[in-house]
């Protein structure tokens, strides 16, 4: 017979206010195998834990049930506590009386009944618990950072500074991401390039960092401590080991293409560096637009002009495989394609209706207009500028339901820049709310108002052209009047959306995504940079919209997590994983096909059957890869797989305890 102890936590008033604790304690005393019950104000506190430890000794308990908050909150706490007792840390069940009971119910009587049921189920389950033991796996102390924007750069630098080698993968030809496109950064108005490019150079020159630009992650297998990653190095047609970055090729290239970096407002060549401060400062050939590579002409001028002879038109994609102990995802964002959803703003037919990133390039000294704010249509200086916030954000009907968080501040920055750079300028900002939660943000916004920006509370309903002016119609919801502003230029502060291709990255690493495709952190509060795949961390906007300070902070946080893993010689595996009964396994392999973590493989094993030596296919589980999701258990027809810690027998006991 097992000796179960039950500990019911009040959680202050979190549970006790809704659940009648005394009644739960009373009922628990008569549950099967229960030899001791007690309640506690805060079971997770030091005295609460000590009380459990004392009870284990005094009442010779061999397993315990704790009725408290969600196991996602304190199961690790209590397991750790049990590790210092005679009881195995897995002889523990938690009845979730808070998140699944007191927090979601108001009727005291019914909530108490439910709490009793939850405890009864946990008591029934714990009777079938078995001691589980962790095993250890070695760690490869090398990190992979996916995405070379400020988040990826910061994470890579922090990990590299801690002394571990890092590979920084970026699909574009240069590091820098979106930050390097920006002109100034709010609220201090320091030059974005001036603070970003030194970091890019640091990353490029760091002895512990291998920068791989024009590269994409192709395949990921393995598990925390030992991810096997295949990276596709896209053909650049320029041998970067020889190239000195002199730039002659760029000058001589005859095909001109719209520049992505300049947001379509300038041109580049087919052999190009995205921008002068690019890292690496070496060009690549854009095969689709190169006359020689796309077969439109013989050309090859760059090859004849290159003093180093580093142009190689026969270059091909290469696959490079390496092992990494941890991965940081920093794939960032792009701006929502407003043109396809906001027909009322012209849907892109007016060249002077631009987005925030285009404005950043216009106002940037190294941009297409050398920092003069000029209209893309005729190059004239706009005297009246309208800024529209929340284009695609906070608009669940047409765009996204969420707030993109940075736009309020950069809209204020843009207004400030318009008023600063253009004499006698008028700047109107249409807004829903002004959200300035950040250090010195509100002060910055106030300053913009003092500069003379006119904030109008309301959405712009329509933009159309009349007599060379862009008429912006909207409602000032504070006065209730319709407003019509004749603007020379309109800046739409558009929503951030996850970078294209994030689905592929998420699938490769089996990270979940939320409804808007942002990568899902393991816990919104307590595990904000972890994912549900152990060893994979998130940094920056790929996890949700945020500004530069938050991005950098999160990048450093994920780097700290990576360094935490690397600081140990070996990792402990989670013992709550699938286990195959090879006697029952018929070797059909369905489990291997449905395992989302690629943790199951089929193996030929030798058996003696009816006196005859035979080779039979059976399923085996990789304890490092298995995350204990249980998909294989549900899929296995003969019931040959069981999930340790959640065995079929345990779940059945719970069901019986509830229903019988």
């Amino acid at each position: 017979m097992s000796r179960t102890g039950v500990f019911i936590c009040h959680c202050g008033t979190n549970i006790a206010a809704v659940v009648d604790i005394a009644k739960v304690v009373e009922k628990a005393k008569s549950m099967p195998n229960v030899v001791y019950v007690e309640d506690n104000k805060y079971t997770c506190s030091e005295p609460g834990q000590q009380a459990i430890k004392d009870a284990i000794v005094k009442h010779k308990l061999d397993r315990i049930v704790i009725g408290s908050c969600s196991p996602r909150m304190h199961e690790p706490t209590f397991r750790k506590m049990l590790a210092s007792t005679e009881i195995n840390p897995y002889m523990l069940e938690i009845a979730n009386l808070r998140e699944q009971c007191s927090w979601v119910h108001t009727d005291r009587e019914k909530a108490t009944d439910k709490a009793i049921d939850l405890v009864r189920m946990a008591v029934a389950k714990v009777a079938k618990n078995h001691a589980l033991f962790t095993s250890s796996i070695p760690v490869t102390k090398r990190a992979l950072v996916v995405g070379g924007g400020i988040a990826g750069i910061q994470a890579a630098l922090d990990i590299a500074d801690a002394g571990y080698p890092v590979t920084l993968v970026e699909r574009e030809p240069s590091l820098g991401g979106k930050m390097v496109m920006l002109d100034k950064t709010f609220p201090t108005m320091d030059c974005s390039a001036c603070i970003c490019t030194p970091k890019m150079v640091d990353a490029g020159q760091h002895p512990n960092i291998t920068v791989m630009t024009s590269c994409e992650v192709e395949k990921v297998s393995g598990y925390i401590g030992n991810f096997e990653v295949t990276i596709r190095q896209k053909a650049t047609y320029v041998d970067h080991s020889v190239c000195t970055g002199c730039g002659i090729c760029e000058l001589k290239c005859p095909s001109k293409v719209t520049s992505e970096f300049e947001q379509g407002m300038a041109q580049r060549r087919a052999i190009y560096k995205p921008f002068p401060q690019a890292v690496p400062a070496k060009p690549v050939i854009d095969a689709a637009n190169c006359r020689k590579l796309n077969g439109k002409a013989k050309c090859g001028i760059c090859q004849t002009q290159c003093p180093q002879g580093c142009i190689n038109f026969e270059d091909e994609d290469k696959l490079i495989t390496n092992t990494y102990g941890a991965i940081v995802i920093a794939t960032g964002y792009e701006l929502i394609d407003w043109k396809s959803i906001y027909g009322e703003y012209g849907g892109g037919q007016y060249p002077d209706v631009i987005n925030g990133l285009q404005f950043e390039r216009l106002v940037n000294a190294s941009g297409p207009t050398e920092g003069h704010i000029l209209r893309p249509s005729d190059g004239k200086e706009p005297k009246s500028v309208v800024i529209v916030k929340c284009v695609g954000s906070r608009d669940p009907n047409k765009g996204k339901g969420y707030c993109s968080r940075a736009c309020c501040m950069y809209a204020a920055k843009h207004a400030h820049q318009v008023l600063e750079k253009i004499d006698n300028a008028q700047c109107y900002v249409f807004y829903i709310d002004v959200r300035t939660a950040g250090k010195a943000y509100e002060e910055f916004y106030t300053r913009t108002l003092e500069d003379g920006a006119i904030y109008v509370r309301g959405r712009v309903s329509k933009i159309y052209e009349e007599d060379g002016k862009l008429i912006c119609k909207g409602e000032d919801t504070l006065s209730g009047q319709t407003v019509s502003v004749a603007a020379d230029m309109v800046v739409l502060e558009t929503a951030m959306v996850p970078a294209a291709g994030v689905e592929k990255v998420a699938t490769l690493m089996t990270i979940s995504r939320d409804n808007d495709n942002w990568l899902q952190e393991a816990h919104p509060k307590l595990r904000p940079v972890e994912t549900h795949t152990a060893g994979v961390f998130l940094a920056g906007v790929c996890q949700g919209p945020k500004d530069i300070p938050d991005t950098v902070a999160q990048a450093s946080a994920s780097a700290a997590k990576v360094c935490g893993i690397f600081s140990k010689a070996e990792l402990q595996t989670n013992p709550m994983i699938s286990k195959v009964d090879i006697e029952k396994c018929s070797g059909c392999g369905d489990c291997a096909g449905i395992c989302p973590y690629k943790a199951i493989s089929m193996q030929d094993m030798e058996f003696i059957e009816h006196g005859k030596k035979i080779t039979r296919r059976v399923s085996t589980v990789n304890s490092g890869l298995c995350q204990g999701c249980g998909a294989c258990v549900a899929g296995c027809r003969p019931g040959a797989i069981d999930l340790l810690g959640f065995t079929n027998a345990q779940i059945l006991e719970e069901v019986d305890a509830l229903c019988l």
């Binding site: 689905e503 699938t507 006697e583 029952k584 396994c585 018929s586 070797g587 059909c588 392999g589 369905d590 096909g593 449905i594 989302p596 089929m602 059957e609 005859k612 035979i614 296919r617 899929g635 027809r637 003969p638 019931g639 079929n648 027998a649 059945l652 019986d656």
Partner: protein, 285 residues
């Protein structure tokens, strides 16, 4: 038909005499003219016991499971249904292609010995020609399209939940849990069926409505995407239960969720429920 029977016997004799196969699984005559049963012919002198007539109803591939590690190849007569069963077993890694020699026989359907009308499972057959074979006897027959594949399921779906419950309650009140449906089914190939295991908490051995229904529904799920629609379960059921309705309900849902799907047409197409694509429907997520 007798031509094919002659050819079958000739082929069987050659295969046995040459030692290519250890034995041949085919049909032999029963006590009555309207009966056949599966036979295993090992001796070339006995090949004349093999018959091919209107009553060769049994699907044969499952019999390979009694000899999973054969010393020589097993010769099997395969019609459309048998050949799909072979594919199914190969795909489940319960049979190796190199362990069998498939004698393909196109089939125009068999007769129900009780009524002498075309057998229900043959009327509903969508693949009369073997989809895999080593030798083909006779020439291929014309396939009959089955636009009403899911008609019976639709009738069930049109019922109210209460009507449907009563319908299945009536059905499973009759079930005697003989497991003939399982034994004959080429999709049922577990080493130890869950119904035979001790202390499976969710499946009692009692013969009553609740346990019978759990058995029925669990079997339908276990067969699910593996059902080749040979109709053998329903044919062999001594209580005449409409088991294919359950199997086809599963298949109809699979077709709706994952696109057109038929099991056992080849060994490459992955079973619909045995793998996932990242763009699978996730209506419950």
């Amino acid at each position: 038909m007798s031509d094919i029977q002659q050819e079958l016997r000739k082929t069987a004799r050659e295969l046995l005499e040459s030692g290519e196969v250890g034995y041949i699984i085919g049909w032999g005559k029963g006590r009555f003219a309207n009966q056949t049963h599966p036979i295993f012919v090992k001796d070339p002198a006995k090949v004349d016991e093999l018959v091919w007539d209107d009553y060769c109803l049994s699907t044969l591939a499952k019999y390979t499971q009694d000899d999973k590690y054969p010393e020589k190849k097993i010769g099997i007569c395969v019609r459309g249904c048998d050949s799909r069963a072979v594919n199914r077993l190969i795909q489940d890694h319960q049979l190796k292609r190199e362990d069998v020699y498939l004698i393909g026989i196109p089939c125009s359907g068999k007769l129900d010995p009780e009524t002498n009308e075309p057998a229900k499972k043959c009327v509903e057959c969508a693949h009369r020609n073997p989809v895999v074979y080593d030798v083909l006897l006779g020439s291929p027959v014309e396939e009959v399209p089955q636009p009403e594949r899911f008609k019976e399921v639709e009738e069930l779906e049109a019922m109210t939940p209460d009507e449907r419950y009563n319908y299945w309650a009536d059905v499973y009140d009759k079930c005697i849990r003989c497991y003939a449906c399982r034994n004959v089914c080429p999709a049922c190939n577990c080493r130890e069926c869950y119904t035979d295991q001790y202390r499976v908490g969710w499946q009692g051995k009692q013969n009553n409505r609740a346990e019978n229904q759990i058995f029925g529904i669990t079997r339908a799920y276990h067969v699910g995407d593996r059902c080749i629609e040979c109709g053998e379960c329903q044919r062999v059921c001594p209580m005449g239960l409409p088991l294919m309705k359950l199997n086809r309900k599963m298949l109809k849902d699979i077709n709706n969720l994952f696109g057109a799907y038929e099991a056992g047409l080849d060994t490459e197409t992955k079973p619909a429920l045995g793998h996932y694509e990242t763009n699978d429907v996730e209506e419950f997520m």
